[in-house]
Amino acid sequence: MSRGSRTTSLNSPLPIDRRSLLRGALGGAGLLLAAPVLDACGKSSASAAGSGSGGGSGQVTFGSDGSDPTPRKAYGALTSAYTTASGNQVRTNVLDHNTFAQQITAYLQGTPEDVVTWFAGYRMQFFAKKNLLHPIDDVWDTIGAGFSDAAKKLSLGLDGKAYFVPLYNYPWGVFYRKSLFQEKGYQPATDWDSFVALCGQMKKDGLSPLAAGFGGGDSWTNLGTFDYLNLRINGYDFHMQLMGGKASWSDPKLAAVMDHWRQIAAFNQAGASGRKWQDAAQSVFDKKSGMTVTGLFMGQAITDETLRDDMDFFAFPSIDPAHGQDAVEAPTDGFVMSAKAKHVDAGKKMLEWIGTAAAETVYANVDPSNVGASTKADTSKYNALQQKAAQMISSAKYITQFGDRDSDPGFISAVVEPGFAQWLASPDDGASTLKKIESQRSQYFTS
């Protein structure tokens, strides 16, 4: 649920979000009974435009997890634009964002919609392997030219077939306020030593150098730092092996990661384990903290619009020159087709249209907190942060999805996240933490 909860948290007032979160999980308790319920709890609505010809040959059903105001509006705009462009009806079933992720297993086995919102990478590959998704290689024959190789790779299942059409992504980096850096004469750090020195200087200046908040259910935020450290020290290949359950967590390579992490953990804002990430972001906005490792979605926590132009970010500093800053953590959201889809051809037609730059522009016009995944996406309306983010992603050699998207989400949330949260309370060399994680790895990666 992790980063899923992010989008939810942002667009709605807090208490409602937490409540829906709980509702999601409690709803999930009826795991096997869930499928029919899930259909009932979402609100069905035919797309606004072109009503009348119900059940035509071009009709397609669309399961959306965009239950929050902004994504809901954006997906609504997307489906109406498709209806206008193609004349085909779209029946949308909007499901609560977190409930959707919690119950995806039951949903895909029940009576899912034809086209469904989902995430790229491991989380898509897992369901593809379980034959719950429909391969869409023919769609990629049409749309492939509009995407980078990295985006294409993210859309492939382990069997080499395409299963996913990306819509947008957002990079992780080190975010800060430009005016604070100007005021104090700080410079964005590109290598490790200057990064640690920058933290030290901020501490001297009475700031919390690294804003941190992983209380509530936010312990996923720690994965951003871990992923980047591992990518910078051990490189993309090892990181993906580790995430895929193929490398040992007691590998000495990870001792170096924990050692580097310990150096900056001392600069974390105090009380991080009881704070929500939104409050950590707020301390950066308030200039009480110097910077924070987070994603572009941080901008969604801005309540005072005048701050938006003052926000900036830099890539996580390089550590081993062999890897430099060649990898960017940029989670990608998009669409899959369920294996039980009733309108396969119409669904593919819709996916083909969604894979065009024009479609991405329709979405981005409503929800500007992301960057279009297509290389042909219209960037003219992007704000400075979006431009920079798009540039950072397109120049990356490797794109990773995020800890809980590149790996088994159960393993990450039940073993790795609590392990790191516990370790951050009193950082040591991490040997015992890694050992604990390693001892439980085989329970999750069996086949």
Binding site: A25, S283, P418
Partner: protein, 341 residues
């Protein structure tokens, strides 16, 4: 007061209390005649009556079997398997492997057991007696009794999840009521209290929140019991020269046995099923250090994108066995005593 004297004084009191209840419900009369008339009464029933009775008993029985016992037994069965929740083909029999992992290779398990026990002991020792004490005071017809009663009972009306949200606001380290009042809300300051983050502190912080609600619950249960105690018992005790404390401990409490049993069962149950408040306060991945509970671990493993129903079921079975052991032992002992009395 000698033991024999006390017993002699108590028995009639208890007897009359029971007689009172029995007379009110009218069970006393029927129960005496039931045994002798049972045979003839069955014969008196028409076929239609019997069919009606069968439906009346059969439907709830089937519902109970289908919706309670079947899932419970299925859960026990699944606990011996490894399964990803997708299709039955992925179901592998692994014997006791899940249990072995739970007991030997699952770091949050033993802390969770410990926290459940602490939860139970704390609830039994602090909010439960507090609720009884408050009920006793409120029963003495003091001024504004109704107002107090309502105020103390108010948290019980709220769902435990909502109680969690309320206390989350109180405990927030930066903007929370408590830290602001104590002046301990500066992260770079010397005294910064992270109520819900500090693993040595958060369980107690949550227990205070839980006690806040539980006290009211016990109070209302006990108050209802006190109101139903026959006033003549107090008069009799007063005539015999018992003081307030003696009357309460030796006359009222024994006369309220059904309520006492209810309260003990409720306390044990609430402690074992403690979930929603901690879920709210510790966030959706639940296994926050210091706040691990068995119910949370079960949820963590059975709900989510890549659930492990087998492992979660093994945890659930452990909790089921513990709960049954606690409640059954208590009830059996209790009924045995009653029969002997």
């Amino acid at each position: 007061m000698a033991a024999g004297e006390r017993d002699g004084r108590m028995r009639p009191a208890k007897g009359s209390g029971m007689a009172l209840i029995a007379d009110v419900t009218g069970k006393n009369a029927s129960s005496q005649s039931r045994t002798s008339q049972r045979g003839s009464r069955m014969r008196l029933l028409s076929v239609a009556d019997k069919a009606f009775l069968a439906v009346l008993i059969g439907v709830p029985l089937l519902a109970l079997l289908a919706f309670v016992w079947l899932p419970a037994l299925a859960s026990v069965g699944i606990s011996f398997t490894q399964w990803d929740g997708i299709g039955l083909s992925g179901l592998h029999w692994v014997g006791l492997q899940n249990y072995k992992n739970v007991f030997t290779n699952y770091p949050p398990f033993w802390p969770a057991v410990e926290h459940n026990i602490i939860w139970m002991v704390f609830t039994a020792l602090v909010p439960t007696p507090a609720g009884i004490f408050l009920a006793y005071q409120l029963d003495r017809k003091i001024r504004f009794s109704r107002v107090y009663q309502m105020a103390i009972f108010l948290p019980v009306v709220l769902s435990t999840a909502v109680v969690g949200f309320i206390w989350e606001i109180v405990y927030d380290p930066d903007h929370g009521l408590l830290n602001s009042a104590l002046g301990t809300n500066n992260p770079s300051g010397k005294h910064y209290i992270d109520w819900l983050g500090d693993p040595h502190l958060n369980l107690w912080a949550v227990l205070v929140a839980s006690a806040w609600r539980h006290t009211g619950y016990v109070m209302i249960l006990y108050l209802a019991g006190l109101k139903s105690v026959d006033p003549s018992l107090r008069e009799a005790a007063a005539i015999d020269g018992a003081n307030g404390r003696q009357t309460f401990l030796r006359v009222i409490v024994p006369a309220m046995k059904p309520i006492n049993v209810t309260i003990i069962v409720v306390t044990v149950m609430e402690s074992l099923r403690a979930f929603d408040m901690v879920y709210v306060l510790s966030g959706n991945n639940g296994s926050k250090q210091g706040l691990e509970l068995l119910s949370l671990l079960i949820t963590n493993n059975t709900v989510g994108e890549s659930p492990r129903p087998g492992y979660g079921s093994a945890l659930a079975t452990v909790l089921l066995v513990v709960s049954m052991a606690a409640i059954v032992t208590f009830l059996v002992q209790n009924f045995r005593k009653e029969r002997q009395a």
